[in-house]
């Protein structure tokens, strides 16, 4: 694919690359890798979500969720029955996130596969081998454009503001909600006047021993510029042992996953006509952290739950 084609495709995904300084050797190598990855990412299209396919896969997700992760999802009744809604979750478990699996199954079973439900994911996840089926599940590249399209269509949209920063946090910080100060989700909800439903999960960070986000390493290698990766996580995970990057995923330990959806927050109703982003951010973080603390207090043992 030509440079122009790659740029056009990246732009369509909402991920036009930022101008950067002239890279060194490592940067050029990674830049080449980035171009290859960009070609692997089809243009995100909400129409790729396939309810029949989702329905066919619900039994295998149910087996995985019920038997392996002993998933428990509470508060789905808090999610508005119809219309656009922004589901805001804390994210755990590395590149293969069991909390998303458990919640996606529960949402599809509860509301039916007919209800449009999209999830925003990092480009890298969508380009990983064998994960093409995520697109049929409604996973699209995380970009403002895709988020706008999803909410304008009246769909439920699941976002993880903490993204790669939060999902690779050390295991001993597993009971901490950490969005890294990212407030884009609030602007999104305000812009489209949709309620925010916080979705709090626990257990994902026990599916491996996450040691470090590796932010310094990612910067040193220029991954932040080349691949939009601000982290290069280091963990001990099956089957690799020491796992740097988690690019090929890992076999998660069968940690019990518990997810709780909280009552919707109608921003204009609760924060007035001129809402303050910092105030809303603190409110959402407090609610989610309190819920996570409650879920953590229920757990007796790591992994077992």
């Amino acid at each position: 694919m030509s440079e122009a084609g790659i740029a056009e495709r990246a732009s369509a995904n909402g991920h036009a690359r930022e101008e950067s300084k002239r890279p060194g050797f490592a940067g050029r190598v990674l830049g080449g890798l980035a171009k290859q990855l960009q070609t692997r990412i089809p243009v995100a299209d909400l129409d790729e979500r396939d309810p029949d396919y989702i329905r066919d896969t619900l039994p295998r997700l149910w087996l995985l969720s019920s038997l392996y992760f002993r998933g428990e999802v509470r508060g789905l009744g808090n999610i508005p029955e119809d219309g656009g809604v922004l589901l805001v979750g804390n994210h755990s478990g590395g590149n293969l996130t069991p909390d998303t699996t458990v919640f996606t199954l529960a949402f599809g079973a509860y509301f039916g596969v007919e209800r449009a439900f999209y999830q925003l994911a990092h480009n890298l996840v969508l380009s990983m081998p064998g994960l093409g089926m995520l697109r049929r599940h409604g996973t699209v590249a995380a970009s403002p454009d895709n988020a706008r399209k999803a909410l304008e269509s009246g769909a439920a949209l699941l976002v993880y503001p903490g993204g790669d920063h939060e999902v690779h946090r050390p295991t001993w910080q597993g009971n901490r909600v950490d969005f890294d100060g990212r407030k884009g989700f609030i602007r999104l909800a305000l812009e489209h006047d949709v309620p925010i439903v916080p979705v709090v999960s626990i257990g994902g960070q026990e599916t491996a021993l996450f040691l470090s986000q590796g932010k310094g390493l990612a910067r040193a290698l220029g991954l932040d510029r080349a691949l939009r990766l601000k982290v290069l996580p280091i963990s001990i995970a099956l089957p690799w042992g020491l796992n740097v990057g988690d690019f090929l995923g890992h076999i998660p330990l069968p940690a019990k996953i518990t997810v709780e959806a909280l009552p919707p927050i109608h921003l204009h109703d609760e924060f007035g006509d001129d809402p303050d982003l910092d105030e809303i951010y603190d409110h959402v973080m407090r609610l989610m952290q309190e819920t996570l603390d409650g879920l953590a207090s229920e757990r007796r043992f790591p992994v077992i739950g």
Partner: protein
């Protein structure tokens, strides 16, 4: 996968029917059911539609169902419109002494889910069977208690008029 749960209740079919045909009472005896909402204009009868959910494992499964057979005091059957494929039936048959044999049947599955569908149906069967058996036991307790109260009220009235 088809599962049935039979039981005999010490009450006439009319008393049992009053419970199973009333959607407002479903949550009082239906084990594992987290939702049984009327979504049609007519809450009871042929063509009535409900949104029902049953907790099995990590998910609440079910969907929109429609009543396709409604023979008062004998049979009520439903089938799924959306969600999990399912057919359910309440079958009431009178027994001597004012008793009723009640059977709750449920067949379920996901067409097109292949081997994982087959496995999940069987893995989920003990949970579903447990829900159905608890449901008929809870129905029996509710109906028989109501019958006891009704007879006690009749005796009180008889004593008062004597």
């Amino acid at each position: 996968m088809r599962i049935a749960a039979p039981i005999e209740i010490a009450a006439p079919p009319e008393a049992v029917w009053g419970w199973i045909s009333d959607p407002a009472k479903a949550l009082h005896f239906f084990s594992g059911v987290t939702r049984w909402e009327v979504v049609s204009d007519d809450p009871i009868g042929l063509g009535a539609r409900y949104r029902m959910l049953l907790r099995v494992g990590s998910a609440e499964v079910g969907g929109l169902i429609e009543v396709i057979e409604f023979n008062a005091n004998r049979d009520m059957a439903w089938t799924s419109v959306t969600g999990l494929d399912q057919r359910g039936r309440w079958r009431l048959r009178p027994r001597p002494g004012g008793r009723t044999r009640v059977e709750l049947r449920l067949s379920y599955g996901v067409a097109g889910a292949g081997i994982f569908g087959w496995i999940s149906e069987r893995v989920g069967a003990p949970t579903v069977r447990g829900h159905l058996q608890r449901t008929v036991r809870q129905l029996k307790r509710q109906v028989e208690q109501e019958e006891t109260r009704r007879r006690a009220a009749e005796r009180r009235r008889a004593r008062a008029s004597a």
